[in-house]
């Protein structure tokens, strides 16, 4: 049970968004001694992507900036259960990215080399080696897109996503931050180029600092301060099957087939694919997604034909042009920070995102780790191109 608080008249920091990133930010701010902090969540914590994602963690990205950042996140995840005293069911079971063409294979080989150079454990496997680890996979040349090889990333895995949300929320509360559910930020007031207060459905509170940590809703919140950033929101769908015998001990992703899957401790297969191709704020699930998923997954794993689909759902993803986040102070408005652009891949970033955002707000300046994710990189043409390593959801 959460404590419900009255809104105070004033907070040093208002965090908009009660997802894993917002709550992690509150937690790490509190660790830095900044505790007069409110997290404003329009619905309930975990309502957004943080409660809807498929919880795949990995750091085998493509660029140096990306690899370092996600690797820091993974190492924070490593000790998180102990630190927050909450079982997060982190299972480092290894992560396959399959390639189905010569071009894809060469991309994977490059990623393996980049990863290794930065100390991230990743290597290339040929189909026979894959088959040894995934005995049920079809590596014959019958499918339309036969398996040519895979990038294997042993530290990758899955975690219990709700647990991460709850654990950060409890951690932040214990240290003094206040979490306000059912509190929607309706406006942000700026005076003399400086943030002065936020207007919510429960009243107005004054503050010196506002951090927008709303992922799929980023454009909407930025609108309130007349800032336009290159976020485009797309729905992403996922499904979970009925429990099946323990069968899959790794995360499997196929870029070409646009699918991925993993198996939870309960035996359910958690599955997803690429984003819906149209920008949209609706979170509805479609039959088209089910159909294409079923067709593609059966090409890889024909044994799954009898597995029944239990439930499907969708969430919103804030895509950026280079598939990397924006974590940045906004120069035009003193005290306003943006943390967004988490697309289909941001859950794994929650700890590093919260940690660095807290540092940024505490010091008024982005730490080195997240400098590359400044909002004006798009005008300065310093993109952090992660599309190749992040295009299929997860």
């Amino acid at each position: 049970m959460w404590n419900n608080h009255e809104l105070k008249k004033n907070y040093d920091v208002v965090i908009i968004g009660g997802g894993a990133h917002g709550l992690a930010t509150a937690y790490y701010l509190a660790k830095l001694g900044i505790t007069n902090v409110a997290v404003m969540e329009q619905k309930f914590i975990g309502y957004g992507g943080s409660g809807r994602n498929t919880a795949i963690l990995r750091s085998n990205y493509r660029t140096e900036e990306g690899i370092k950042f996600y690797d820091q996140s993974l190492s924070l995840y490593e000790d998180l259960a102990g630190e927050l005293d909450f079982n997060l069911m982190f299972s480092r079971q290894g992560h396959f990215t399959l390639g189905h063409s010569t071009a894809a294979v060469s991309g994977l080989v490059t990623r393996a080399e980049n990863n290794k150079a930065l100390g991230v454990d990743s290597y290339f496997l040929d189909p026979l080696e894959i088959k040894k680890m995934l005995p049920e996979i079809d590596i014959s040349d019958h499918p339309r897109f036969p398996v040519h090889g895979a990038l294997y990333h042993p530290p990758g895995g899955i975690i219990r996503h709700d647990a991460v949300v709850w654990a950060y929320a409890r951690g932040a509360e214990r240290k003094g931050a206040q979490i306000h559910q059912l509190t929607e930020v309706q406006d942000i007031l700026v005076e003399n180029g400086k943030v002065s207060s936020v207007v919510t459905n429960r009243g107005t509170v004054s503050c010196n600092t506002v951090i927008s940590v709303v992922a799929g809703w980023s454009s909407e919140v930025c609108k309130k301060v007349n800032i336009k950033l290159p976020f485009v929101t797309h729905p992403l769908q996922a499904l979970v099957t009925q429990s099946y015998k323990p069968w899959l001990n790794h995360v499997v992703v196929s870029g070409t087939l646009h699918i991925y899957l993993s198996q939870t401790d309960r035996g359910e297969l958690v599955c997803g694919n690429g984003i819906d191709t149209y920008p949209h704020y609706g979170m509805r699930s479609t039959l088209g997604f089910l159909e294409s998923y079923a067709a593609h997954v059966l090409e890889l794993f024909p044994v799954l034909h009898n597995v029944a689909v239990q439930r499907q759902w969708a969430g919103l993803c804030d895509m950026t042009p280079d598939y990397s986040p924006i974590i940045s102070p906004i120069d035009e408005i003193n005290g306003f920070y943006v943390n967004g652009g988490w697309g289909t891949y941001g859950f794994k970033a929650s700890p590093a995102s919260g940690y660095n955002t807290a540092q940024m707000v505490a010091n008024g300046k982005a730490p080195k780790m997240i400098e590359p994710f400044r909002y004006n990189r798009f005008v300065e043409n310093r993109l952090v191109g992660e599309k190749a390593a992040a295009s299929v959801g997860s």
Binding site: T241, Q242, R284, S285, T286, L287, L290, E291, A294, A295, V297, L298, L304, H305, N306, V307, A308, V309, Q310
Partner: protein
């Protein structure tokens, strides 16, 4: 056994439903197969698995109703008929039953298996009306069936005071109570195969349904407006030792609500 299962695509009533200015707000609704119809489909699938035959789904609805047909096909139905009906609003059970009659005239079937009511209107009128229009016997609200053959079946109907066991000669119309079974979920293969199963599309004009026979004109009743039910007035809650709270609640029950007086 040839079984027709009429299904209706309806808003998911498990979700929040809002009204404004006397109408249900469309935005945010999510559409599903009416759950009673899923029970009927499951029963039909079990029968054909048992004694052979085919299950044909039949829906009257707009373009997007095809999704429900495909879901039913993914569950295992063999084929489907989609009667394209673009403006289903203000169509009552009578008009639906008339259209269904027209669709089924001249077709071969042994059994029409339907839900006891549809989840949106909760009216429960269409299937028995259809039975009358087709001059077929009806058994509604069944909780069990047995001895199914191509000629007849035994049906257990939940009546008001007893379970009535009836023997019906086919063809006939049966509606199901939802304790009858637990509808199956579609498997991966089922979902994939559904796309390849026959889905017949019929335009209303093609079966002789004119504008006077559909929509408000073809209906005998009309909905004037929709409202939220009056919310109950705020209750009183008691927390603490049950010895005290039960007494407090009972005192008020007696003084305010005239309980046992």
């Amino acid at each position: 056994m040839e079984i027709i299962v009429p299904i209706k695509q309806v808003p998911d009533v498990a979700l929040n439903i809002k009204v404004k200015d006397g109408a249900v707000i469309e935005e945010g609704l999510s559409y599903v197969i009416s759950s009673w119809d899923e029970t009927a489909l499951e029963a039909a699938l079990q029968i054909t698995e048992d004694i052979g035959g085919e299950v044909t789904l039949l829906t009257i609805g707009p373009e997007k109703a095809a999704e429900s047909l495909r879901k039913g096909l993914a569950m295992g139905a063999h084929k489907a008929i989609h009667v394209k009906y673009y403006d289903a609003k203000q169509t009552d059970s009578f008009a639906y039953a008339k259209i269904l009659q027209k669709v089924l005239e001249g077709r071969e079937y042994d059994l029409i298996l339907a839900g006891r009511q549809s989840q949106d209107t909760d009216a429960g009128l269409t299937a028995p009306m259809l039975a009358e229009f087709l001059d077929l016997p009806q058994v509604t609200n069944i909780i069990r069936f047995s001895n199914v053959s191509n000629q007849n079946m035994t049906l257990y109907r939940k009546g008001d005071h007893a379970t009535e066991v009836l023997e019906m000669e086919l063809p006939g119309v049966v509606t199901v109570h939802d304790t009858l079974n637990e509808p199956r979920l579609a498997s991966m293969r089922g979902i994939m195969m559904a796309k390849k199963k026959p889905l017949e599309e019929i335009e209303l004009e093609a079966i002789g349904i004119t504008s006077e026979m559909s929509g408000l004109e073809g209906s005998m009743t009309e909905v004037l407006h929709y409202d939220k039910p009056e919310s109950r007035k705020e209750g009183k809650n008691f927390e603490g030792d049950e010895k005290d709270t039960v007494k407090q609640a009972l005192d008020l029950l007696i003084s305010e609500a005239k309980f046992l007086v």
